[in-house]
């Protein structure tokens, strides 16, 4: 089981690295969305630093969404998903490997890029560790929840339009705790509660989402 997990992870990472635009485009999107806010609202530093946690988090949410549609699509189109369904390993574990790949190519770069955007929005420096920590836990959860939506819509030709509708409402708790974690850190308050709640959401998603993704993939593949 572990072997299959590692093999699948390696394969998906190799594939992702060969198609650079797949993971670079969401990153550029993330940066562009964040720069739109000062342009739209005006270059007022104090206002920007106040809305920075929310803006960065919303942009991260949307950027995560961008990569989700392709999470299973290519494998679904070329039949690899059916191979996974037929394999003796539990599907939920294999699915977890794919979700982890998505996070490594879509979530982790967002996290690493976020301090730069925090500087652009004049977020206080003391909030940057909280930004990194909350984004790590949060984007992992987003990848897990989003994978359910991706699995449900993979059989549809226009799944990309439907996907945000399905998963964005489910992203809201992560957004709430994530942005409030950063805002609290910027204000000099303790962030233990927010991080604990984000951690709780992550573990809940880790336990339940792979099952839902596996069931959804089975349904999508049968039609």
């Amino acid at each position: 089981m572990g072997g299959a997990f590692i093999t699948l992870l390696k394969r998906d990472l190799t594939l992702a690295m060969r198609r650079r635009s797949d993971w670079l485009n969401p990153l550029v999107f993330f940066v562009i969305v964040v720069t739109l806010f000062p342009i739209g609202i005006g270059p007022d530093g104090s206002l920007l630093s106040e809305i920075a946690p929310g803006v960065i988090w919303v942009a991260a949410l949307l950027a995560t969404l961008l990569g989700l549609d392709g999470l299973f699509r290519d494998d679904f189109d070329d039949g690899s998903i059916e191979q996974l369904l037929l394999s003796p390993q539990p599907l939920s574990v294999l699915v977890l490997a794919k979700v982890l790949t998505h996070w490594l190519v879509a979530g982790l770069p967002l996290v690493l890029l976020s301090p730069l955007l925090a500087l652009l929005l004049q977020l206080k420096l003391q909030a940057i560790p909280a930004l990194l920590a909350s984004l790590v836990l949060g984007t992992l959860t987003l990848s897990l929840i989003g994978a359910i939506g991706a699995a449900l819509t993979v059989g549809l030709r226009r799944g990309g339009v439907l996907l945000p509708l399905l998963v964005l409402p489910l992203f809201i708790p992560v957004l709430i705790f994530g942005s409030s974690c950063v805002a609290a850190a910027a204000g000099g308050f303790a962030i233990g509660a927010q991080l604990s709640l984000l951690g709780g959401l992550f573990f809940l998603a880790l336990a339940l989402a792979p099952l839902a993704v596996a069931a959804s993939l089975r349904i999508s593949a049968e039609s």
């Binding site: 359910i148 399905l166 489910l170 809201i172 708790p173 959804s216 999508s220």
Partner: protein
């Protein structure tokens, strides 16, 4: 018990049962709503603080209760459908979704109307209103997923999974929104449905809530009958009924 369950699960038997129940429930619904509205709008005393505008709770609160109740019905039916492949449960979930969305919208609209005299704005980012709004999005997502999959049985199962994912998330969303709200706003804003409510105001509220539930049953049963006829248009019993002109 299981024999009864099987009998009810057969669409033909359910159709006949719904046929008998619907008119009875419709009468009960009309009586409940008429009495509830009369007692709520004319008999119940005027509120000390909110004046007459509090009376919108007789629509708002039952609608908000229904919005959650119908989602629970949908989630329960989805579970029945996924585990026991009970077709009837899928039909009930399918016809309940637009009803639930309508009640959610009604709760939002009446909440907003109530907010104008109370808060001075049409929309306040109050925890309950925000949760209702997100619930509306979840209903819309459910209906969008169901309608965008052409294959009927795939659509039914995919929608059932989404309903179950939603039911895990709704309490999390509800409490996180409440937490978000207390963080950003002082708790001084008056809220609909304060815990202490006088009995003369409570009775019409409960009557209305019951009336809304019965209304849901009437519409749900009627729509379920329609979908049963549509799905079983080729079965012998439907043909026979069409021939005898009693649907």
């Amino acid at each position: 018990m299981f024999r009864w369950f099987h009998k009810l699960a057969s669409t033909k038997n359910f159709y006949r049962l719904a046929e008998i129940l619907t008119p009875l429930l419709a009468v009960a619904c009309a009586i409940l709503l008429a009495v509830g509205l009369y007692r709520g709008l004319f008999v119940a005393p005027t509120d000390y603080e909110q004046g007459e505008s509090y009376r919108i709770i007789y629509v708002h609160v039952p609608a908000a209760w229904m919005s959650l109740f119908i989602y629970m019905v949908m989630a329960f039916c989805s579970l029945l459908f996924l585990v026991w492949k009970m077709k009837l449960a899928d039909i009930v979930a399918q016809v309940s979704a637009p009803l639930g969305a309508s009640f959610t919208f009604l709760a939002l609209a009446t909440g907003s109307l109530w907010g104008k005299p109370m808060w001075g704005t049409w929309w306040e980012w109050d925890a309950r209103l925000t949760s209702e709004l997100i619930l509306l999005f979840i209903y819309i997502g459910y209906m969008a997923l169901r309608s965008s999959i052409d294959n009927k049985s795939t659509a039914a199962r995919a929608a059932a999974i989404l309903a179950l994912v939603g039911v895990v998330n709704i309490p999390i969303i509800h409490y996180s929104v409440e937490w978000w709200n207390t963080l950003h706003q002082p708790a001084s804003i008056a809220k609909i449905g304060t815990p202490s409510i006088h009995i003369s105001m409570l009775i019409p509220l409960l009557l209305m809530a019951l009336g809304f539930k019965v209304y849901y049953l009437v519409v749900m049963l009627t729509k379920t009958r329609n979908v049963i006829l549509e799905r079983e248009a080729n079965s012998a019993w439907v043909r026979e009924r069409v021939k005898e002109n009693r649907l």
